[in-house]
């Protein structure tokens, strides 16, 4: 029998070539972020949707040492095409070094609002796209255990806390442990108090390093916090337990019987921790079992966000940035219904199942928003702030010394290292 070997070889070659071309025809975009484990799985769903839509492949790398890995990649001249940074301070650092590309001509006209201001990280152009955001100005409680109406003013909150303590019921769940950044849950408290008592303009100046730590407004924010959490019986387990408890565990006693504590000041991601199975096998549900009230005072909120930045201006990377900014992408992660991921887009609706999630989403997209100040400060200042919180909880009597030490650090940081990011409105 006569064979047609050359014909077969040609056919196989054409088929293989076709497969190879179809796999890489639209190219690949490299992405670096801090998400690993379950969060990585979720973010990969967003990236997969991008591939399905555009045909562009993605190469994702998730690492807990994002700062070190990105710094090293940038120094070697091989940054990823797109990196998602967990705070605006890091993003702004790369803008200053000229490593990030502005997104004006990539994204085109964007809807105005708080997030457009925040995504500029203190510059004239947009450099970041918020992939997900968190509300920090929130106080959480188990719906069955909140005695009386929700506090509306600082005086209400102080009175509620004092009454609960006097009744022998522990008002506050507090966990400051978060190695290697232990202390940050306390800095969120102080920032929130300062934002609501001194106002956004003062808060912005302070975050930009223009206000002395010894200023009376700042001292008052510390003592106000101290008035809530330092009296005996105000925090579950006292100062030692607050220092030793991980931030992710602090809210668990909200759901014990009897409750170990009644209120927790924490960012919206804490809902993920609340929805762990209880001893009786049930799982706390938003609205039915837990809820939040906004931080008492003026309607301004402290927020944080993971921001994607464009390091390599390739057509594939541009497409990804456009996709991440679109409502189509913004609704994927919140739509996974873990109840702790929020979009910054006003037009992403219908993905939040319950009233609690809807109110968090609404707060994140309406009204005046300010970035977490410690995320904007130079790293040396942020670290000192975290440490000062731990020292203060251990010994509130050291406040004067601590503020003086923080002020010494502030003065040592060159003016060029501070970021002046206005609150969005």
């Amino acid at each position: 029998m006569r064979t047609h070997r050359p014909l077969w070889i040609l056919l196989v070659a054409v088929l293989l070539g076709g497969v190879a071309c179809s796999a890489g025809a639209k190219g690949t975009v490299t992405v670096l972020a801090s998400w690993t484990g379950a969060e990585e799985d979720d973010f990969r769903k967003v990236l997969q949707a991008f591939t399905d839509k555009t045909g562009i492949e993605f190469d994702y790398r998730g690492t807990r040492a994002l700062d070190q890995v990105l710094t090293s990649d940038v120094q070697r001249g091989t940054p990823p095409d797109v990196a998602v940074l967990p705070n605006p301070g890091s993003l702004a650092g790369y803008v200053r070094q000229g490593k990030l590309k502005p997104l004006g001509d990539v994204l085109g006209e964007q809807p105005t609002g708080s997030w457009q201001t925040l995504e500029k990280v203190g510059t004239r152009q947009q450099y970041g796209v918020a992939v997900k955001a968190d509300l920090k100005s929130a106080v959480w409680y188990a719906t069955a255990n909140l005695p009386g109406p929700k506090p509306v003013t600082w005086a209400d909150l102080l009175a509620l806390s004092g009454k609960l303590t006097a009744d022998g019921r522990t008002p506050w769940c507090l966990g400051l442990g978060a190695p290697p950044t232990s202390g940050w849950p306390g800095t969120d408290w102080i920032e929130d108090i300062l934002l609501h008592t001194a106002g956004p303009e003062f808060y912005q100046s302070w975050a930009a390093g223009k206000v002395a730590w010894t200023a009376p407004e700042i001292r008052k924010a510390w003592t106000d916090w101290g008035a809530l959490v330092t009296p005996a019986g105000a925090v579950r387990g006292g100062a030692a337990a607050a220092l030793l408890t991980d931030f992710g565990d602090a809210g668990r006693p909200l759901f014990t019987t009897p409750p170990g504590c009644l209120l927790e000041h924490q960012a919206s991601f804490t809902m993920g921790g609340y929805r762990l199975p209880r001893a009786d096998g049930t799982t706390p549900e938003p609205a039915k079992d837990f809820d939040f009230f906004r931080f008492p005072g003026p309607q301004v909120a402290e927020v944080s966000a993971d921001l994607a930045g464009l390091f390599n201006d390739t057509p594939q990377a541009r497409e990804l940035m456009k996709f991440l900014a679109s409502d189509e992408a913004q609704r994927i992660w919140p739509g996974i219904h873990r109840g702790n991921v929020f979009s910054v887009s006003k037009t992403v609706t219908g993905v939040y199942d319950d009233d609690v999630n809807r109110r968090v989403a609404q707060t994140l997209t309406e009204g005046r928003l300010c970035f977490d100040a410690s995320d904007l400060m130079p790293a040396i200042m942020t670290d000192a702030f975290y440490r000062a919180v731990l020292e203060y909880v251990n010994n509130p009597g050291r406040l004067t010394d601590l503020l003086q030490q923080l002020e010494t650090v502030r003065r040592s940081v060159p003016a060029v290292d501070w970021l002046d990011v206005p609150c969005g409105q």
Binding site: G175, P180, A240, A241, L244, D246, N394
Partner: protein, 367 residues
């Protein structure tokens, strides 16, 4: 064609076939020697180092953590800080990690894990320093205990240093398994090694047939050159079979490495059990009557449930490690094979030419 010219043509064809077989033998035997030698040298110089030093770093870090906690538990910290043992063990761990970075076989993933470990270790050393400073400061002992706790969590928590090193160790071991099974990625896989025996066996058979044909056709005694070529080719077959035995030595290296990894794991478990139980006591002494909070409460319960863990004696672990290193060195001993094998094959080619030259030459003018 006359009988004479047919004989000459047959002789020329035989010579061509033998030379072609010799050439094939040269290629396959040099290739076989190279892949085994390359693999053995990589395993000796890099892979065993990468695996064993990762395990050693894990063990040294748990020993450092245990030593630091013991210093805080005994009160030695007031005068000597976290102690000399802590400092020595941390230095040992850093040296091991430097060697891992140099010998890393786990690619970009391994390098990424090393970056994470480096960052977390810097934070760990800083937290121990903070704990030391606070323990010496009157009224700040509770904060010192919290710093000690934070430091220990950086090692032990999910995603912490020990988990990262555990993953890195698994990656390096997997790289070793792949190298031993498949050889260097730049060369054909090791399992093809027996194929290299085909060419010399074929040449040996061809030499035998030639010898037999010459004897039948020319009624001559044995052709000594071709006999010598057969002996050399036979030696080559023996050498290649010995090469397969060398691959067996490499498998021994893998087995011995697993013994050391098990030893190190036992050492880590022993240090962990002792260190973490001491840490639970230190924390209990610093907490109020209401307890230490949810996180430490769960930790203390787990420590109470844990018993004493026994590890292997250090000298036995060292002896096992030495056996791995010696085994890898033995497996990489070539005995000059990389030169002797091609020389022997070239000699076979020369002997073939010599052995058939006189017979072909006799027919040169008869064609």
């Amino acid at each position: 064609m006359t009988r004479t010219s047919r004989t000459r043509a047959r002789l020329v064809r035989l010579r061509a076939a033998l030379l072609a077989g010799t050439l094939l033998m040269l290629v396959t035997s040099v290739w076989a020697v190279r892949i085994v030698q390359d693999t053995a040298e990589t395993v000796r110089d890099r892979t065993t180092d990468a695996v064993l030093e990762t395990a050693a770093a894990r063990a040294a870090l748990t020993a450092a953590d245990r030593a630091a906690i013991a210093s805080f538990a005994s009160g030695e910290v007031a005068l000597a800080g976290p102690g000399q043992d802590y400092t020595n063990q941390l230095a040992t761990a850093n040296q091991s990690l430097a060697k891992v970075a140099e010998a890393n076989q786990a690619g970009g993933g391994g390098a990424g894990r090393l970056q994470v470990v480096a960052g977390l270790l810097a934070a760990y050393a800083s937290a121990i320093g903070q704990a030391d400073a606070h323990y010496r400061q009157p009224g700040a002992e509770t904060l010192g205990a919290a710093d000690l706790w934070y430091a220990s969590r950086l090692l032990h928590s999910p995603g912490g240093v020990l988990e990262q090193l555990s993953g890195l160790q698994a990656d390096q071991r997997q790289a070793m398994v792949e190298q031993l099974d498949e050889g260097s990625p730049a060369l054909p896989p090791l399992w093809l090694l027996p194929v290299s025996l085909l060419a010399p066996i074929a040449v040996l058979v061809l030499l035998g047939l030639t010898q037999w044909w010459l004897y039948r056709w020319f009624r001559r005694r044995l052709n000594l050159s071709l006999l010598a070529a057969s002996v050399v080719t036979g030696g080559l077959v023996v050498a290649l079979i010995a090469l397969l035995g060398q691959q067996g030595d490499l498998d021994d290296v893998r087995t011995r490495t697993d013994v050391v990894l098990a030893d190190r794991q036992a050492e880590v478990a022993k240090n962990d059990a002792a260190g973490q139980q001491m840490l639970a006591s230190v924390l209990t002494s610093r907490c109020e009557a209401a307890g230490c909070g949810v996180t430490v409460g769960a930790f203390q319960t787990a420590q109470r449930a844990g018993g004493v863990v026994l590890g292997r004696a250090q000298e036995l672990i060292d002896a096992d490690t030495q056996r791995v290193v010696a085994g890898a060195a033995t497996a990489a001993e070539s005995g000059g094979r990389e030169l002797l094998v091609p020389a022997a094959v070239l000699a076979v080619g020369g002997l073939v030419l010599l052995g058939l030259y006189r017979r072909i030459d006799e027919y040169r003018y008869h064609a």
